[in-house]
Amino acid sequence: MSNISIPADAVRILRNAVHTEIGQDAYEIQSVSETGQGDANPEQYAGPLKRFDAHRALLDAIGWRKPDSDEPVQIDAERHRAVLVSTLERRLAVERDLAHESDPSLKGADRQRQTAEGYARTIEGFLRTLYGHTS
């Protein structure tokens, strides 16, 4: 087993991102159910259920609850690397959108942009580590 350490500032962003991913997984499972064709095409559940299980396992590893202050977390890189990368890449895209699309005339826009840029830098830094990490 090869462990990887997630820095404290990345853990906080990651936890929030994985919670969001679980919501998306649940939405996709519900969408398949609502087609009323789940029993004809049960393979349509496979993707969202697999991602749901992977996201749950990642939250089991990093902790579901937001602590008073985050600490670095060690996780099994081999087991969680793929879901870690996909989750962070999606969140990075969101943060970049927020950084570039915030309307400067709106109240709090500057703060939102700065926060998004900071989160994006943190994610980019950790993703570089992940891309270079061979499990």
Partner: protein, 150 residues
């Protein structure tokens, strides 16, 4: 009292449809927790909908996810009794509504579905000791099904 129950071939497709419907309800319950403020402060709120989704998935693993000509299936009541009761009650409720709204041309098919589920629900009542015979919700469901069929 047996530890297992056999879902007859006429009821199996309706049980499977009910389970596919419930999996969506369980996922929606997860979304509700996920959308609420404080999900990272109160992750314990996920426990009930996660357990619900796991129960329905396990039932579908046992009875088969895909509609087919599968004959009767025997499942463990210990492992699947709760999900089976939830599924049959849910599907009976849906089927009663469908029968009430059925056009004359659809009535026979809708009646058959209610009858099959009512019959299997009665077997389930007799076999599954944890299913309360005094559950007013289940009793009301069975009563309205029987009235519609009389």
């Amino acid at each position: 009292v047996s530890d297992t129950i056999t879902i007859p071939s006429d009821a199996l497709p309706f049980v499977r449809m009910g389970a596919h419907d419930l999996i969506g309800d369980a996922a929606e319950a997860i979304s509700t927790v996920n959308d609420a403020v404080g999900r990272e402060d109160h992750p314990e709120r996920y426990q009930a909908p996660f357990a619900w989704l796991a129960r329905v998935r396990a039932l579908l693993d046992a009875i088969g996810w895909r509609a087919s000509e599968t004959a009767e299936v025997t499942v463990s009541l210990v492992d699947h009794g709760t999900a089976l009761c939830e599924t049959v009650d849910n599907m009976l409720s849906i089927s009663i509504n469908a029968l009430q709204e059925a056009k004359a041309s659809e009535r026979e098919k809708a009646e058959r579905r209610v009858r099959v589920l009512l019959d299997f629900g009665s077997v389930l009542d007799g076999a599954y000791v944890l299913r309360s015979r005094n559950d007013p919700r289940v009793r009301a469901l069975h009563k309205s099904a029987a009235e519609l069929l009389s």
